[in-house]
Each structure stands twice: as structure tokens, then as C-alpha cells.
């Protein structure tokens, strides 16, 4: 209970005494069951928070082990094989089970409905299902870690991942594949919520910038993640049944994998950074007590980044043997995506 030392709280207590007795989302129900079956966006946000913190912890331990190993040039703590598995699990968990879900699923679930004046997201049951799918994906990834791990690196480059690695590639890929559906559902949920559930009078160009950034992020989640799912499925098909897709010995093209992978993974970079930019836009304007400078420009820049971000994947592949002409096209588009990024940061 607030103390009377806070002046505004005292005023509230005097003016509206019922306010303090009201239940909030934490006190309305109790017990494990009420959490695991909740459809409340705030509770689901907290479920995500605890889940990603667990993955963050595991990934951090892997990082710490790597740094300790690197204290001496010779392998003292772990073998080369274990070291490779450490950076793989670190990468996989940090990218797909911490960074990508972090701001959208925690802060997004928690405050997106409040920012647009809605009681919840558009599909609360799907929202809970999305968390369960995320946990299932994470469990698969951890299963593959417990059974010996994967040593391909988080990028799963072919033909190493499909033909040459002797580790549990398929189960790890399956974990990321499953978690991807959680990302897609969350993105779709946020987009529908933003379209259909804004309070009357809250037009698009009155939305808080965090909502704009979440909207741009959701667009990427919905459009890019399926490509990752396809790519991981193709890896498993080649690895399991020997269908030649990426391994040149089977008639495939290893660079094709990189095109598909970065077509997802470059936009995924913006899944990680755009919500962060949205948070900063809100925090700085709030605590400097000033409206944002160039609101419409910043909101539009978020969308421009989301769209242009789909066209620059080849800048991860300059030395991959793609043609120099393709390289230059990706180069100029990458320069151009720096312009809206600059607007947001300015």
C-alpha cells in the first residue's frame, strides 16, 4: 500500500478511495494454474519474461565458458568440439530464444494494448498458445543440447550442417522451426490488434512511436519467419533423406542456403533493433518532457527500415562467391537503409 508520503497518491486516496481496493492483474488470481492458463496480456508478457531469462542464463553460461577457455591459447577447459558446441548454443539461444522475442513479447504484450487503449490483444488465446509453442521450441533446442549439442554455429551453413556435422542438427533446427511459429503468431496478433483495436480517435499518426516500431517489427516477423522455417526444413530434408538441395556432391548449391538464410536473418536484425529504437524514442521524450522531434518521420522511418531491410540480405555474402554485380546492388541498398536508420537516431 502506498504511503501517505506521496502527495499525488494521497490526493488520489482522498478523491477516489475505491481505486486502491481494486484488484490488479497480479492479485486477481493466484496459483500456478492461474498463470499457465492465463489469457491476460500482462501475465503472458511476464511468462515470456521469465522464459527468455532462463534461455538468457543458459546462453550466458555458454558465453562465459568460451571466454574462460580463451584465457589461454591452448585448449585447457574444453575441447575444440565442445567449444564449437558452446558458441552454437550461445548463438541459437541468444538470437531465437532471447533477442527476437525479448522486447516484442515482453514489453509488447504488456503495454501495446494499454498504449492503444485496448483491453487485451486481439487474440488472447492465440497469445497464450504462442507462449506454449515458444516453450516447446525451446525445449526441443535444450533437448538437443542435453543429447550432445550441435556444432554448426547458429547460421547452420551448408553443406557442413547437412552432410558433414555429426551432431544433433535436426532437433536443433526443429526447435528453431517450432519457435518460429510463436514469432509469427505474436506478430500477427500485434498487427491485428493495432489495426482493429485502437481507441476511437487514435489515428495512425497519433500512435505512440513504440507502437509504430512494434508494428514494423510484426510485419517483419510475419513475412520473414516463414522463409526461415522453409530453410530449416530443407536442411532437415537434405540431412535426413539425402535430397540434393545445398550439397554440391548431391547436385545442390551451398550458396543458395546463404541466400535463404540471410533473407530471414537480415530482417531478423531489425526484429531485434526496431523495438529497441521504439523504447528509446518513448523513454527520452518522456524523461526530457518534450514531444519527439519529427514524429511522422520517425514512424515512417521504422516502416521504411522494415521494408528496405528485406532487400539487403546479400551484404552478408560479399565474399561468398556471389557475383560482384549482385554485391553492388546489395551494397547500394544497404547504404540506403542507413538513411531511415539515421533519421530515427537523429
Amino acid at each position: 500500500m502506498p504511503e501517505s508520503g506521496s502527495r499525488s497518491a494521497t490526493e488520489l486516496l482522498v478523491e477516489r478511495p475505491g481505486e486502491f481496493a481494486r484488484q490488479n492483474y497480479l492479485s486477481v488470481h493466484h496459483g500456478v494454474r492461474s498463470w499457465l492458463l492465463t489469457k491476460d496480456h500482462k501475465r503472458i508478457g511476464l511468462l515470456y519474461l521469465f522464459t527468455i531469462l532462463i534461455f538468457f542464463l543458459i546462453a550466458s553460461v555458454a558465453a562465459a565458458l568460451m571466454r574462460i577457455e580463451l584465457v589461454t591459447p591452448q585448449p585447457k577447459l574444453v575441447t575444440s568440439e565442445t567449444y564449437n558446441k558452446l558458441f552454437t548454443i550461445h548463438g541459437v539461444l541468444m538470437v531465437w530464444f532471447f533477442l527476437i522475442p525479448s522486447i516484442p513479447t515482453v514489453l509488447g504484450n504488456f503495454i501495446l494494448p494499454m498504449m492503444i487503449g485496448a483491453r487485451d490483444v486481439a487474440f488472447p488465446k492465440l497469445n497464450l498458445m504462442s507462449w506454449y509453442i515458444f516453450v516447446a521450441g525451446g525445449a526441443l533446442a535444450l533437448w538437443s543440447l542435453v543429447h550432445g549439442g550441435v556444432d554448426t554455429g547458429w547460421t547452420f551453413y551448408t553443406p557442413y550442417s547437412t552432410t558433414y556435422a555429426n551432431t544433433h542438427v535436426i532437433s536443433m533446427a526443429a526447435g528453431v522451426f517450432v519457435a518460429g511459429f510463436s514469432t509469427i503468431i505474436t506478430g500477427m496478433n500485434f498487427m491485428v490488434t493495432t489495426h482493429k483495436m485502437r481507441a476511437p480517435g487514435l489515428t495512425w499518426f497519433r500512435l505512440p512511436l513504440f507502437v509504430w516500431s512494434l508494428y514494423a517489427t510484426s510485419l517483419i516477423m510475419v513475412l520473414a519467419t516463414p522463409v526461415l522455417a522453409i530453410t530449416l526444413a530443407l536442411i532437415s530434408v537434405e540431412r535426413f533423406w539425402g535430397v540434393g538441395i545445398f550439397d554440391p556432391k548431391l547436385g545442390g548449391d551451398p550458396v543458395l542456403f546463404q541466400h535463404l538464410f540471410w533473407f530471414y536473418s537480415h530482417p531478423a536484425v531489425y526484429i531485434m533493433i526496431l523495438p529497441g529504437m521504439g523504447v528509446i524514442s518513448e523513454l527520452i521524450t518522456c524523461f526530457s518532457r518534450k514531444p519527439i522531434y519529427g514524429y511522422a518521420w520517425v514512424g515512417s522511418a521504422s516502416m521504411a527500415i522494415a521494408v528496405l531491410g528485406f532487400l539487403v540480405w546479400g551484404h552478408h555474402m560479399f565474399v561468398s562467391s556471389q557475383s560482384v554485380y549482385a554485391g553492388m546492388v546489395f551494397s547500394i541498398l544497404s547504404f540506403l537503409v542507413a538513411v531511415p536508420s539515421g533519421i530515427i537516431r537523429a
Binding site: 564449437n84 554455429g153 553443406p159 556432391k249 514524429y295 551494397s331 547504404f335
Partner: protein
């Protein structure tokens, strides 16, 4: 530190409680400023792009006078062969002030040939040829790293470039087992593996002659025209049915699995050699 802390102190004093500083909000947008710092960086980035693109095209164009070295990457070593036939593993001896060009492929996974001191890096991809070139201007030892994660011993896939004075290089080239030149090996393979049984003027089979072929346009049976470069020759050896020369039948067996990456490169070196001869030299 200075950039952060000086403004903190300055603003703490300026806006201290009770100071008469102006606290009204400045305007929250200006079309001119926004357009300015949007269009300005666009031209700036286009300028940087043009600068970078010119450099890229220069890197891409391999000088014609370069001395070739064949490079095969495998888990977890570099195998190199000079045109004179000398082979090396994880070491590359080259003369100073000479343009060197690597033709590279991998026999298993993707590797990346990286000499940080020369500022060159290029992935080495199974199933295709990639290349880099450089002209060292100072003698000495320089690192070679594999820059694409390739498995357990990736971090040990390291070597060195030894840049030598031309005289010392000549001595090194003649020392030890140097064997036959790549072209001679290729010629021997061309005979021993049966290529010459068909690709010859007096052959009973209808197969294209390969003299004068290299870097020339080849009309295909599907109507397209390709250039007979390294990649085309390689594909024709391993997947003969992929691109069939116009006027010929798809009768050549695949040599995939029967030739190592080095042997394919030696064969291509031989085809390059006869490729520069007039077509009717038989």
C-alpha cells in the same frame, strides 16, 4: 567521458532549481531540417557507395599477367600447387612484386581463404571456382586463416604466405621434389583417364575437339551460348549432361567421384594450355 560529463555538469548548473533559464519547449519538427538531414545523407551514402563500388570492381578484375596457384581447401588444411608443379600444404611461397592469382575450390565444406595482411578474403566453395589476386610488395611471413567456420579443427586451419626475393624464390622452386608441371600432369590425366579416346580428331566417337576452346563461346544444344571458362569445363567433366554442345549427343560418362579436385584442376590447366592453341593442331 569528456563529451558526456561536461554537458551533464553544464546543464545541471544551467537548469538548476530556481534558475531563470528558458524552459519552454522548442518546436517539435521542421520540414527543412528533416529533408536536409534525409537528403544530405542520401548523397553522402551514394558517394561512399561509388567509391566502394569502384574498388570492388578493381578487386574483381583479375590481371591477365598474374601467376596462377591452384588452391584446394579441405577439413582442415590448404593444399596448394604452383604452375610448375610444386605442391605445398598450408604454406604459400611466392616472389615479391609479382601479381599472384589463386584459383580455389573445396573438396568438402565451405572454407574461406583470408590473408589479413593483404586485405583479401574469399570463400572457397565446393562445386565451384572462386579466385583472388594480390601483389605483395614486401618480403616476409604473413598469416593465412580459414575465415569460414568449417568444423572441429577450423581454428587450426591456418597457414602462412612466405614472400621471397625472386632469386630465393627460384631456388626454392627448384629445391626438393618439384615433379612435373600442372599442364604436363593434366596431359597425362587426359590420356590415362580416357579423355583423349573421344576428344581427338581420329576418334570413332563424335566428341567436340578441345583445342582452341578455352574462353571461347560455345553454342549449346538448347540454343544458348556459354563461355568455356573454368566453371564450364569443370561442370562438363563432372556433369556432362548439364550443358551439351550443339551438334553432339549426350554420351559422355560423368567423372564425378573418379577425379580429385586437384586432378580436375590439372585437367583444366591442360585444357587451358591447348585452349590457347589453334583448333586444328592435331
Amino acid at each position: 567521458m569528456v563529451v558526456i560529463f561536461l554537458p551533464i555538469i553544464f546543464f545541471s548548473v544551467k537548469y538548476r532549481h530556481g534558475s531563470p533559464a528558458d524552459r519552454s519547449n522548442p518546436r517539435s519538427g521542421s520540414l527543412w531540417i528533416e529533408s536536409g538531414w534525409t537528403i544530405g545523407p542520401i548523397f553522402l551514402s551514394l558517394g561512399l557507395f561509388a567509391w566502394g563500388a569502384l574498388t570492388y570492381f578493381r578487386i574483381e578484375r583479375r590481371p591477365s599477367n598474374a601467376i596462377e596457384v591452384q588452391v584446394v581447401g579441405k577439413q582442415w588444411m590448404w593444399k596448394l600447387q604452383h604452375a610448375e608443379g610444386k605442391r605445398e600444404i598450408n604454406e604459400l611461397h611466392i616472389p615479391v612484386n609479382t601479381t599472384m592469382a589463386m584459383t580455389m575450390t573445396s573438396q568438402d565444406v565451405i572454407h574461406s581463404f583470408f590473408i589479413p595482411a593483404f586485405r583479401v578474403k574469399q570463400d572457397v566453395v565446393p562445386g565451384k571456382y572462386t579466385g583472388i589476386w594480390f601483389k605483395p610488395t614486401r618480403t616476409g611471413d604473413y598469416h593465412i586463416f580459414c575465415a569460414q567456420y568449417c568444423g572441429t579443427q577450423h581454428s587450426r586451419m591456418i597457414g602462412r604466405v612466405v614472400v621471397m626475393e625472386p632469386a630465393a624464390y627460384e631456388r626454392w622452386l627448384k629445391s626438393g621434389q618439384s615433379g612435373e608441371s600442372i599442364v604436363l600432369t593434366g596431359e597425362r590425366l587426359f590420356r590415362d583417364r580416357g579423355c583423349s579416346g573421344c576428344h581427338a580428331q581420329n576418334s570413332q566417337f563424335h566428341a567436340p575437339l578441345l583445342q582452341g576452346l578455352y574462353r571461347k563461346p560455345v553454342p549449346l544444344s538448347d540454343g544458348t551460348i556459354v563461355t568455356a571458362d573454368d566453371q564450364y569445363l569443370r561442370d562438363s567433366i563432372l556433369q556432362p549432361g548439364k550443358q551439351i554442345s550443339a551438334g553432339y549427343d549426350n554420351i559422355m560418362p560423368s567423372f564425378a567421384g573418379h577425379l580429385s579436385e586437384e586432378e580436375i584442376m590439372q585437367l583444366i590447366a591442360y585444357l587451358k594450355y591447348i585452349g590457347s592453341q589453334p583448333p586444328s593442331s592435331q
